[in-house]
């Protein structure tokens, strides 16, 4: 690959953090998130010359990430389970802990594809069309699932607000 490999390294270094955060919001586990990102970037490595020449690297990696997450959720033998419990225990005196915990649980309650749509739309700020392309579904499906997912999370966040007294 030679010079092309430098391009891959630059891309992987610059995008890894963002991809990892997206992956974490999808699966709720930093270690699994690292695995998902590593796998998506490894797939990109294999096809780097073609994908980089086409210029749609972000879309390709995003799709690989989403496919990896959804495939992992579909596998009956999967070793990792999405959980509302953070493996990395936050500081016990953190004021945000109830919010985070509740929000993670609310995210985990969503169907994997619905959760993916919510994360891509409201975290990665993708358009309806980009989200539909990443999941390989219709824009109508994205709109309806995003709306339902948002309503579910709204209810969760409202509960936090009520508990917090604001």
């Amino acid at each position: 690959m030679g010079r092309e490999l430098d391009g891959f390294r630059d891309y992987a270094s610059s995008r890894r953090t963002e991809l990892r955060r997206t992956a974490y919001l999808l699966c709720g586990d930093w270690y699994l998130a690292d695995d998902l990102v590593q796998d998506a970037l490894a797939k990109l490595y294999v096809h780097w010359p073609r994908v980089s020449a086409r210029g749609d690297v972000d879309a390709y990696v995003r799709r690989m990430l989403v496919n990896g997450f959804l495939a992992g959720r579909r596998r009956a033998w999967r070793r990792e389970l999405v959980t509302a419990q953070l493996p990395d225990v936050p500081a016990p005196d953190s004021a945000d802990h109830p919010t985070r915990d509740l929000l993670l649980r609310a995210l985990a309650d969503l169907q994997p594809s619905q959760r993916t749509i919510v994360v891509l739309r409201y975290w990665d700020d993708l358009s309806v069309e980009q989200t539909a392309a990443a999941l390989g579904c219709s824009t109508g499906n994205v709109k309806s699932q995003a709306s339902r997912g948002l309503a579910h999370l709204r209810a969760a966040l409202s509960a936090v607000a009520v508990e917090g007294g604001h």
């Binding site: 891959f8 390294r9 270094s13 990892r20 930093w30 985070r100 975290w123 948002l150």
Partner: protein
């Protein structure tokens, strides 16, 4: 996003940001990814080789199944009077140009002949490699005109269907027959008889 959803989405984004605030340290560099990528590449290559072997085995099975009383399927037979008693043979007087013409006449839509190498010639066993350009990229079509049969195979295997290869084999055999389809016996240790590459 509609106007009423916009503030809600911003609120959600802020809330999601609190989830990633506890992010542990990121693994340094991309060496781990590259190792994984190289493993994937190796797996793909071995997978392709295994796939080619499976397809080749399936092809041999298909040919043996069709080589009964009516053998003209993937394999076309030359006239019986030209069949030798034994041994492998090439079509003497079957010029490479005619063989290539046979290929060109039967190429499927979207596939064309590639640039023929200057040193193109029959190889031992009656093999001839013909470069072609397919919609998926360059490929190598290998003809085998030997043992009273014409065969066509291609690499990468996914660039042509068996039906297309069958048509090419038939066309090459028709050319061979039109050239008189005489045969020449190759002696032990002989390679690439001049007669076949004239």
């Amino acid at each position: 996003m509609s106007d009423d959803v916009e503030p809600e989405a911003a609120h959600l984004r802020t809330a999601l940001a609190t989830l990633v605030a506890t992010e542990p340290e990121l693994p340094a560099g991309s060496a781990d990814i590259e190792r994984r990528g190289k493993r994937r590449l190796a797996q793909r290559r071995w997978g392709a080789i295994a796939g080619a072997l499976v397809v080749a085995a399936a092809g041999v099975t298909a040919v043996s199944l069709t080589s009964g009383p009516d053998p003209v399927r993937h394999v076309a037979q030359p006239p019986t009077e030209s069949e030798p008693g034994n041994g492998s043979q090439l079509a003497e007087g079957f010029p490479i140009g005619s063989a290539v013409n046979g290929v060109a006449a039967a190429l499927p839509a979207g596939v064309s002949l590639g640039e023929l190498p200057m040193d193109i010639s029959w190889r031992a066993g009656g093999l001839l490699d013909v470069p072609v350009v397919t919609t998926a990229g360059p490929a190598t079509l290998t003809l085998r005109v030997s043992d009273g049969t014409c065969e066509a195979t291609v690499l990468p295997i996914e660039t042509m269907t068996w039906a297309e290869l069958d048509a090419i084999a038939r066309s090459v055999c028709a050319e061979w027959i039109s050239n008189g389809s005489p045969v020449v016996i190759i002696g032990p240790g002989e390679e690439n008889p001049d007669a076949a590459s004239q």
